[in-house]
Symmetry: C2
Subunit: 251 residues, 2 copies
């Protein structure tokens, strides 16, 4: 579009790929053509190419298309390269087991939290899958743990953007958040008090990469009644202790 070194048919094909989401994992040709304002035959060509190459499968029942396991394989190459999953999973498992709460691992990516991994304390305790999803920094435990340790100008850049109130508890005032970030740095952990999802509290601890830059964070979260002030402090200490060996191992 803008540059001439862009393979336009590829860019178009990738925009087709991006129509698939967790909410809409199966799509038909006309559906996609409508979403993107493309010709049906164009979408057909793109989809059948993806299918021939193994990246999409067609459901024989409704003839709709969905992302295939080959895409999953590409994802594994990424996480293996970044080395995060293999590095973190054992620690996350231990944290979930010892706190008896769901444990999340997220990284800082383009000014947002990207959820990478989740572990559960028991077979019963399951939550909605948010892996691969993104969330703002200013209203999540993971996000605030990272926001507090960003270079001042980057933190200000994020606080100066408009903020959405997800619940009645969401802080959207830059000054209040700036003050809370000061507290986070003093405590070494961040707390999300139902700011992103009503009824859910969360304790999060940041992780730093080489060079001391904040890169990721680990949290436990659950129903607010289980997260009284003492428990929050205990969970924070436990996460810090377990994550001790892994600090500064990130690239």
């Amino acid at each position: 579009m803008s540059d001439d070194s862009t393979v336009k048919s590829l860019a178009k094909a990738l925009s087709v790929l991006e129509c698939f989401s967790v909410e809409q994992p199966e799509l038909g040709i006309s559906e996609i053509a409508r979403m993107l304002g493309l010709q049906k035959s164009t979408v057909y060509n793109i989809l059948s190419t993806f299918q021939k190459c193994g990246y999409l499968t067609q459901n024989p029942d409704n003839s709709k298309y969905a992302l295939s396991l080959k895409v999953l394989h590409l994802g594994y190459i990424v996480s293996s390269h970044h080395g995060l999953r293999d590095l973190m999973l054992p620690y996350l498992t231990a944290i979930a087991r010892e706190t008896k709460e769901v444990c999340y691992f997220g990284i800082l990516d383009e000014g947002e939290v990207l959820y990478i991994e989740a572990t559960y304390p028991s077979m019963q305790q399951q939550t909605r899958n948010i892996l691969g999803e993104r969330a703002p920094l200013y209203c999540t435990g993971l996000g605030k743990a990272m926001l507090a340790y960003l270079p001042p100008e980057e933190m200000e850049a994020i606080l100066s953007r408009p903020m959405r109130a997800f619940t009645g508890y969401t802080l959207t005032d830059p000054a209040a958040l700036r003050h809370q970030m000061e507290e986070v740095r003093q405590n070494g952990y961040a707390v999300d008090n139902m700011e992103h999802e009503f009824g859910i509290r969360c304790v999060a601890v940041p992780l730093f990469g080489t060079g001391g830059r904040v890169r990721a964070a680990v949290s436990v979260s659950g129903p607010s009644p289980r997260f009284d002030p003492e428990t929050v402090i205990r969970h924070a200490a436990l996460i810090k202790r377990i994550l001790g060996p892994v600090q500064h191992q990130l690239q």
Copy 2:
């Protein structure tokens, strides 16, 4: 290529994507051009399109390209759609914890095992990342657990293909394997006695989807001295017990 409904530039771009692997997660332009026999400038256009769309990142140090986190997100859409990861992870965690061995979850895909998930009993116990990789059915615990329950003609099709001996213990004789598959069906679990990797033993239990077709398997594996006959029986029973609630929940 063969068909005219193929968007050739897309197929070419996807073949570029497939150059990236766990072993080679970072590639340069000339490198890829050589691998595929393409013009450098062609590869450049493809790579910079992927980059503009967010699927590749360029390492500023060596200017090589690597798959980005956006690819990971696509992977999450797949696993969320298939629902396997969220369904299985808590059980796998429990199995790793109770057996104190590494636990793998793999599915049957195109006549091979595709490793989907791994859980670890402790923070120390880590192994090479094989998630997303594939392995033959005839010489792995997960594979044999599934092979034994395939429809006879599919099993024969796989046994009739040439088999590679990965170690001195690998069974490559169809008759011997056929007999062993009989045993697997009697026991309800399969054992890999260093047939894929020397020194590693493995116990695996199959999982079935709706319609009774075998779909996946769960295993624990570790150093052969820890896997004496009694332990193998105990682990198999434990896996079966923990997986009880999940049987026939797969789609």
